[in-house]
Assembly symmetry: C2
């Protein structure tokens, strides 16, 4: 099963590292992140690739990507500080969170950041005031096209096209450089044509603004590139091929510069979370499903299992006939049930103390851990 | 508005402390926790009151309750260590989490803990092996009666009555002391008769076990006692009065010893979370609702706003006509929307930079914070 996701050599390395180590913990294979970054670079040859630091902010990952020439998108000044500390120059950093305090914009500007994303008038005015002359991406709301995304991004981010055009003109008037349109099709977006629908809207915005004397330079397509979970997605080369096809269809051969912000797409497949079975229980003699309680749960690493959104491939060394289980975490909280509706099948021979390996858990796991819910420490991460 | 929840003097103290302090942060008024503990003691005169440490594990709270003679229920060995460090003797501590590793049971036993809760055979066997002779509460599953609880506890915890009886007999056979039945009617349980239904099941278990030569001593009713949120609940004296009525109805005048484990009921009302408006936005000119983005969200304190489960009273100093808002947190995550379906009304005069005070946020807030999601630090807590 693990061979669907990792090579024999990688798996041997994982097992070797995991043996006799107290669970739970996350192993991140840095080589996988490097390779994935190169895959992005090769498939999107004229794109600027900003790593979405929030996906997995480990210093080891940031350093590896820095050395490959990556750019970095930060969600807060705290992430900014971490990136700067690694001697990554501010012209390789964007502040892509549309929700930010004025004093935080100012702080980022003082550190040298000149690229921001915005979606409302108040934020544009803040940027104009404390980060004068900066480049701005205006973020478009994506309502309709997120239907096959495991983690859609909703109406929280972006604004409608008409308002976006007004904001771009306002930004220009206030001395900023409206630089492009950004959108996000939803995280783990398996329906590639979502990009098509978004680009179709972007081209109209470009045209309308050009008529009003404002020429935008760039499209920021955010993330949405999938990690390798149970539900299969297309390969990254297929994403690239399709997206370039859409760009040419809408813009012709001379399409704008592309920015990408992969987080999950870069880091997701690089992680393996190692946990242990704490208990196996039935609620009555005739209970048809086993409750399998593990030392990992919603609050110490698997937050994205909430509402059973992300379904991670799960490996155990045990074999033989399987049966349905309900998987639950170790805290005294009902929300800390991982999978009850989605029926994971695990071997009937599974025992307390057996290891469970959660594959493709490199993104949005450790950083989501609670600081001390039920006293449990945040997820330990090892980089190998 | 705040006067529905705090006295004028308390509020003055809160405002005084909050002024000119960088948001977000949580203020916990220790006097309120002390008073609430005394209210529990007075209303449940012959009950042992175990504070559910997970609700808010601050050392200041634990110390205050220690000095009032409280008992403590821990969910993990990490909470246990914290409690022991405050020189709270192990005979005032229970290990109430049914999900625990064998080596953690052993550790707790080595520290002197002799009271555990269990709901499955494997756990009973673990306890018998590494914590011989300990007292055991057997936890009953509560399926049907959680309908008016804001945070129901589901089938994750407990077992069916028939299995519970078998487990009690097994525990005895293995040299443990089956001590009583525990249940939990669901957190923030507003329907007091849920306790009635649960006690009705407990009395049958007591009777059946007595017929088999096993006399249980105690009922552990867990928590479920409400904090003061938007949806009103009955007062604690009313809870006590009703629960005693149920006990007498089912057991007669000589009812068993009572254990209570309030967490939210003790700490909830003692906290005020102070946040700030980062942005106010509309998504188009004709958008009917304002998006109010605050520096507090799901991942740095208000986890229980997930699925809009807990609705906190919200105070602003601004007054005048109000309008509907969508409240959202500061991270780049769609899940970090606090309230979209439930329509909070806030003054139309609300501005960026205004403070928002989230009342009754003393329980299940700070400890639920993520360690660094989007780089944001966990929620700072001040005890006054």
């Amino acid at each position: 099963m693990y061979l669907d996701y990792y090579s024999q050599a990688e798996w041997a390395k994982i097992i070797n590292f995991a043996t006799d180590r107290e669970t739970p913990f996350l192993i991140v294979i840095l080589e996988r992140i490097r390779n994935k970054f190169l895959l992005f670079s090769n498939n999107f040859p004229n794109a600027k690739i900003y790593y979405a630091v929030k996906a997995s902010p480990g210093i080891e990952i940031l350093t590896a990507l820095r050395d490959l020439g990556a750019y970095f998108d930060v969600a807060s000044i705290y992430e900014l500080d971490r990136v700067l500390k690694l001697n990554i120059p501010p012209n390789r950093i964007s502040y892509g969170n549309t929700i930010k305090k004025s004093q935080h914009i100012q702080y980022a500007y003082q550190q040298g950041v000149r690229l921001f994303t915005s979606d409302c008038e108040a934020d544009i005015r803040h940027i104009a005031k404390v980060a004068p002359g900066s480049k701005i991406f205006l973020r478009l709301i994506i309502d309709a096209v997120t239907s096959d995304s495991d983690w859609p991004l909703s109406r929280k981010f972006g604004c409608q096209p008409r308002m976006l055009i007004e904001l771009a003109l306002l930004a220009k008037e206030l001395g900023l450089q409206p630089y492009g349109v950004s959108f996000h099709v939803g995280s783990q977006q398996r329906e590639i044509s979502a990009y098509d629908a978004a680009i179709a809207q972007v081209v109209l915005i470009f045209e309308q603004l050009e008529k009003q004397g404002l020429k935008l330079q760039s499209i920021n397509m955010g993330g949405g590139f999938p990690a390798d979970y149970i539900t299969k997605a297309n390969t990254l080369p297929t994403y690239a091929e399709e997206i370039y096809r859409y760009l040419e269809a809408h813009f012709g051969a001379q399409f704008p510069e592309i920015y990408l912000e992969p987080g999950r797409g870069l880091a997701g497949d690089a992680g393996v979370l190692v946990s242990e079975v704490i208990l196996i229980a039935k609620k009555s003699r005739t209970d048809l499903r086993r409750w399998v309680y593990t030392d990992i749960g919603i609050f110490n690493g698997l937050m994205e299992a909430i509402d059973e959104s992300i379904k991670y491939p799960l490996h155990t060394d045990k074999t033989g006939p399987t049966g349905e289980v309900i998987l639950a975490g170790p805290t005294c909280d009902s929300l800390d049930i991982l999978y009850e509706n989605f029926k994971y099948q695990l071997p009937l021979s599974l025992e307390i103390g057996d290891k469970l390996y959660w594959l493709s858990t490199g993104a949005y796991t450790a950083s989501y851990s609670s600081v001390e819910f039920n006293g449990f420490p945040p997820l330990t991460t090892y980089y190998i």
